[in-house]
């Protein structure tokens, strides 16, 4: 009872004092407690709970002259993601139309977040069941992330984050080649735009 604030049951009321009983001296702790709560409020309000976090990345060292040439990768297990300007993102498997001997895949525009994530997971599952999946390599998909010059830093962070979320460990960041940039530009100008122009005019 010694730490009672504002007096407990046997706080010296007139009668007891009168009897001359030696009580423990009491200090009025109200101001201290007031100050205590004031400080508490201050620290709660200034506390920052969401500290920034760090996302580790490892980039491959530059190729050296005496490095052995890399094994060619089967196109069918490569998923390409094109990160373009104005937060646009496309993906296709293997080769795209107009690249190489023609007959490639069509670009598909998707949204950041769920859109691209679902596509990555879908392709990943499909390739896990394909002939590329072996005992040593049960998850054969390789993702090539091609980033355009006009993309933002946040676009790249988003896409790497998607790789971490989908546990896609095999990915590389490369530049968008001139030829690919033209394909993207064509797509945006051409039928791709025509398809999406309906929704675009609606939102604008």
């Amino acid at each position: 009872m010694a730490a009672d604030v504002g007096g407990g049951e046997d706080s010296g009321k007139g009668k007891k004092k009168g009897r001359g009983k030696k009580g423990t001296p009491r200090v009025d702790m109200t101001p201290m407690v007031d100050l205590g709560f004031l400080l508490l409020t201050f620290f709660i309000l200034t506390a920052t709970m969401d500290d920034p976090k760090s996302m580790p990345i490892v980039v491959p060292a530059d190729k050296e002259a005496n490095d052995p040439p890399q094994d060619p990768v089967a196109e069918s297990k490569v998923m390409n993601i094109i990160v373009s300007g104005e937060d646009r993102i496309y993906h296709y498997m293997g080769k795209t139309r107009g690249e190489g001997d023609g007959g490639g895949m069509e670009l598909q525009q998707v949204s950041y977040g769920k859109g691209i994530r679902d596509n990555v997971l879908k392709n990943k599952e499909r390739l896990k069941k394909s002939r590329f999946a072996t005992k040593d390599d049960p998850d054969p998909m390789i993702v090539m992330i091609k980033i355009a010059k006009d993309a933002r830093y946040a676009n790249m962070v988003d896409i790497i984050d998607e790789m971490n979320i989908t546990r896609q460990t095999k990915y590389m960041l490369i530049d968008l080649s001139k030829q690919e940039a033209e394909i993207v530009a064509d797509y945006e100008k051409g039928e791709g735009m025509a398809k999406s122009s309906v929704t675009k005019t609606l939102t604008e």
Binding site: A3, D4, V5, G6, G7, G8, E9, M29, V33, G36, F37, L39, L40, F43, I44, T46, A47, T48, D50, D51, P52, K53, S54, M55, P56, I57, V58, V59, P60, A61, D62, V83, G113, I147, A148, K149, D150, A151, R152, Y153, A154, N155, M156, V157, D158, I160, D161, N164, I165, D175
Partner: protein, 203 residues
């Protein structure tokens, strides 16, 4: 008898509440981190990364939304030597007073050749100076970022026998080519492992 007892019990024992309040104060006082004043506001992108950022032995490369780059080290004791070594490379002498000022900077804000001028300015004029001339050059003709990082790593090796962990703290609107220049600079020094500083995000 009964009414008397009822009167006595109107007192509430606040001891536990006050104890708890002080416990909370202690907790918040110990965990509070006052953010250091930054040269400018950088809005970092969000991610689902969970790793906390180490507080020491860290070299941070900052990039703002215009693509201006700065570089800083957490080890304050090594900053003098760092600037002196850079000064030697560019044949610039720094006075003890300038070193003192430099030690207080969390990051290198300007071209080394404008450093003397910057350090001589009073604090309120520095922001405007930074806005006009700011950013460490990292073009291939004079890649000062490369030299700052390299010198910092050498100083850290000599003084503490450690290698800096490298982090990039860039604005979410920073143009991607700037990021490529930064990673290219790091790669040249065989610093292939680094981290990106991001905010926690719900998704």
């Amino acid at each position: 008898m009964k009414p008397k007892i009822a009167k006595k019990s109107t007192f509430i024992d606040m001891t536990p509440m006050v104890d708890l309040a002080f416990l909370l104060i202690t907790f918040f006082m110990l965990t509070v981190k006052f953010t250091k004043q930054e040269t400018e506001k950088i809005v970092i992108p969000g991610s689902t990364a969970q790793k906390t950022i180490p507080a020491r032995n860290l070299l941070i490369i900052y990039g703002n939304k215009e693509g201006k780059v700065r570089v800083g080290i957490t080890e304050q004791a090594q900053r003098d030597k760092w600037l002196l070594r850079m000064g030697d490379l560019y044949k610039i002498q720094f006075t003890p007073k300038e070193l003192e000022e430099f030690r207080l900077l969390n990051e290198v804000p300007v071209d080394i050749r404008k450093m003397k001028q910057y350090l001589g300015l009073p604090k309120e004029k520095r922001e405007a100076f930074y806005k006009q001339y700011g950013g460490v050059p990292l073009d291939s003709a004079d890649n000062q970022l490369d030299k700052w990082i390299f010198e910092a790593r050498i100083v850290n090796k000599q003084e503490a026998n450690e290698d800096y962990r490298i982090a990039i703290k860039a604005d979410k609107d920073m143009p991607y080519p700037v990021f490529k220049d930064i990673t290219g600079t790091l790669k040249k020094q065989r610093a292939n492992k680094f981290s990106l500083i991001t905010n926690k995000e719900g998704s």
